[in-house]
């Protein structure tokens, strides 16, 4: 099967999953005890007003009509209105998305930049102090709840030593870009430092689990690859050890690591939700938690759809990347 046919097939599967996600999210409302109208209205409200609100929300329509209304709006970016603020959900979700993406990308960068060299060092210096250190770090890293790690970082680095702020996101990348485009270079640089200063602790908090995980995978993958005959054959033909390790062994190690990173992006987004809660980071996670506390189901549903669809799309991308870097993939 060619790469393009594989991608078409993979995208069709992705579409199916997206449909499933939307349907599950639609169904979520029906497991909730109580009536959405109760969120909007005091319990002792006039039954007529109540009926009116229910009609306005479309809750008295037959189920299939409600389902159709729900699903048909989504391709147009229509996610309904918040029960609380009565504003479009899509706009609110979009407004919160950059903060979460920034956090997730920063954490991924932290993880990759630290983990891959650490895993390689660990594998090439087996049974040496560096290896033991990396092994213990990765074991503890995958076992540490990131919200607690965040609290610890705040207590030590923000409260005790006052090196970082405890929370908040006074400026985002979008803001910095705007400053830059508008020509105020000095302010843009200022904004960038502020941003970096504020995102460091959340990014480390979110990235630690991934750093540990990728270190682990890189180490075991590297050990596996370095034991392969082709490594010995590369040495036999006189290649420099650097070339053997990095061009040959590491490249083959990273191919499966990429897939795992793709699969773990869900965990990354889950982690982002709770990291946002720790650092009062105004992203999707905070939006989701607030919407649950306010019983604002449309906002919750919209956020879930955005998160899950994003996850599916990223996974298709990762698969494509995998197929691109690995000539052996059978595309099935």
């Amino acid at each position: 099967m060619s790469l393009s046919r594989f991608l078409v097939k993979r995208s069709l599967q992705g579409l199916f999953v997206i449909w499933g996600v939307i349907t599950v999210v639609f169904g979520l409302r029906f497991i909730s005890p109580g009536d959405p109208a109760n969120v909007l209205l005091p319990p002792d409200v006039d039954p007529e007003v109540r009926a009116e609100v229910i009609a306005e929300l479309g809750l008295n329509e037959p189920l299939y009509v409600q389902y159709w209304d729900f699903i048909s709006g989504i391709p147009l970016g229509e996610l309904g209105n918040s029960l609380v603020t009565r504003t479009p959900v899509a706009a609110r979700v979009l407004a919160k998305l950059p903060a979460t993406l920034e956090l997730a990308i920063a954490a991924t960068i932290v993880a990759i930049v630290i983990a891959i060299p650490l895993g390689v060092i660990s594998a090439t210096r087996r049974h040496q102090p560096a290896d033991y250190g990396a092994t213990v770090f990765s074991l503890v890293g995958i076992s540490t709840p990131n919200f607690w790690l965040g609290v610890m970082l705040i207590i030590v680095l923000a409260v005790q030593f006052d090196l970082f702020p405890t929370s908040q996101r006074p400026i985002g990348v979008d803001g910095i870009v705007l400053l830059f485009v508008s020509g105020s270079l000095g302010e843009a640089v200022n904004g960038l430092t502020t941003w970096l200063w504020h995102i460091t602790l959340p990014a480390v908090t979110l990235g630690t689990y991934f750093t540990a995980l990728i270190t682990r995978l890189t180490r075991s993958g590297m050990l596996d690859q370095l034991g392969q005959t082709y490594v010995r054959a590369s040495r036999a033909k006189g290649l420099p050890e650097t070339l053997v390790r990095y061009k040959h062994a590491l490249r083959n190690t990273l191919i499966p690591v990429i897939t795992v990173i793709g699969l773990q992006l869900g965990t990354l987004i889950g982690g982002a939700v709770i990291t946002e809660a720790v650092f009062a980071w105004p992203g999707l996670g905070t939006l989701i938690i607030n919407s649950i506390n306010a019983r604002d189901w449309p906002v919750l549903q919209g956020s879930l759809i955005v998160v899950a669809v994003g996850f599916v799309l990223v996974n298709i991308l990762v698969d494509a990347l995998y197929a691109y870097v690995n000539p052996q993939v059978a595309y099935d």
Partner: protein, 354 residues
């Protein structure tokens, strides 16, 4: 089901690996702590004493600058009709009565850590069992029947996987509410623990129920069954091609019988390894839900970390200690998981985490 050879591999790997030994010791220790909480806990986890709030753990003391009434010769100093105050550093010392200190309401942290283990272990074990039950059922069915059944089941698994597990768990618990089932604590109800405690002169008044966080257990299972389904399906797909399975079917054995008698026992090893790792993942998930206040648990490590946040600048230990308990437990479980995986080599990677 578990062959002599498997046991031999387990023993050999255990002899060889210090980390595996540490893991087993930690897990057994935490399990014993959870089971025998009413015997060993110094106080009831809910017992408040506001006079002893925020005592530091043994080995630490706190210095706090407070405004206090100025005293001279045992009497309050009054100048110009006003009570004079002065700034004074107040030292709070640890007491042996609360070795790990107390929280913001003066509850003993050690007791809360011991009782918190119960919540984690209950959710970990019941949640994993339920997830395994659903996942193995789905996975074996999909792998055994293949074809359309497989497609439908595994595509629904894909749909579940599209949701980040923590996000889905938050949404489900948030939407569903927090059903909890108080079940009687056998040691307290039978009078065993109280008798033991009064004989040794311990404080009494241990809670007589264990709270089973029902919704949380169901939700973590719903979120995590997919991993079991994947592993069980893979095993079923390969085992069904084995000659003895074909022979059994040729002899007219029913599908259900074949799966139970032949496929399941051979799939059990990778499922056990996965289960160990999943207990760790589910404990982390529970602590995250509790931290966010969605689990409804009021004795839980995650919940205590959240409670300690308001004292993060004055009493660091309130958040720190329960977190350490989580880390130690999960490290132990991961070590045991690594041990099983290295010894049994079922070819699966660990999944999940917070």
């Amino acid at each position: 089901m578990i062959s002599e050879r498997t046991l031999r591999n387990l023993r050999r790997e255990l002899r060889r690996s210090l980390l595996a030994k540490i893991g087993i010791v930690v897990v057994v220790f935490i399990l014993l702590m959870a089971v025998f909480a009413p015997f060993i806990s110094p106080y009831s986890p809910g017992k408040q004493n506001l006079d002893e709030a925020r005592l530091p753990p043994v080995g630490f003391s706190t210095a706090e600058t407070r405004e206090v009434t100025k005293m001279e010769n045992g009497s309050v100093v009054i100048e110009g009709g006003e009570v004079v105050t002065e700034e004074r550093t107040v030292y709070t010392n640890a007491t042996a009565a609360h070795p790990l200190g107390t929280d913001g309401n003066g509850r003993d942290i050690l007791s809360r850590v011991i009782y918190g283990a119960r919540t984690s272990i209950l959710v970990g074990i019941f949640g994993t069992s339920l997830a395994a039950l659903i996942g193995v059922l789905v996975g074996l069915t999909a792998g055994y029947y293949r074809g359309r059944v497989d497609d439908v089941l595994m595509r629904s698994a894909d749909i579940m996987l599209a949701f980040p597990s923590l996000v889905l768990a938050i949404a489900l618990v948030g939407v569903w509410g927090q059903a909890q089932a108080p079940i009687p604590d056998p040691f307290v109800v039978t009078g065993l623990a109280p008798a033991f405690r009064s004989a040794l002169g311990f404080t009494t008044g241990m809670p007589d129920t264990v709270v089973l966080p029902g919704t949380v257990i169901v939700v973590v299972a719903l979120v995590n069954w997919v991993w079991f389904a994947r592993v069980a399906r893979g095993e079923a797909l390969s085992i069904r091609e084995e000659e003895y399975v074909k022979a059994a079917r040729a002899l007219g054995a029913s599908d259900g019988w074949t799966v139970l008698r032949h496929v399941l026992p051979n799939a059990i090893t990778p499922i056990l390894v996965l289960a160990t790792i999943q207990v760790a993942a589910i404990i982390l998930l529970e602590s995250a839900l509790s931290f966010l206040g969605f689990s409804g648990a009021d004795v839980s490590w995650g919940f205590d970390i959240a409670l300690g946040r308001q004292y993060q600048s004055t009493a660091w230990w309130i958040s720190t200690i329960p977190g350490l308990a989580i880390v130690i437990t999960v490290v132990g479980l991961n070590l045991v998981g690594d041990w099983l995986r290295d010894a049994l080599d079922p070819g699966i990677e660990g999944e999940g985490g917070v």
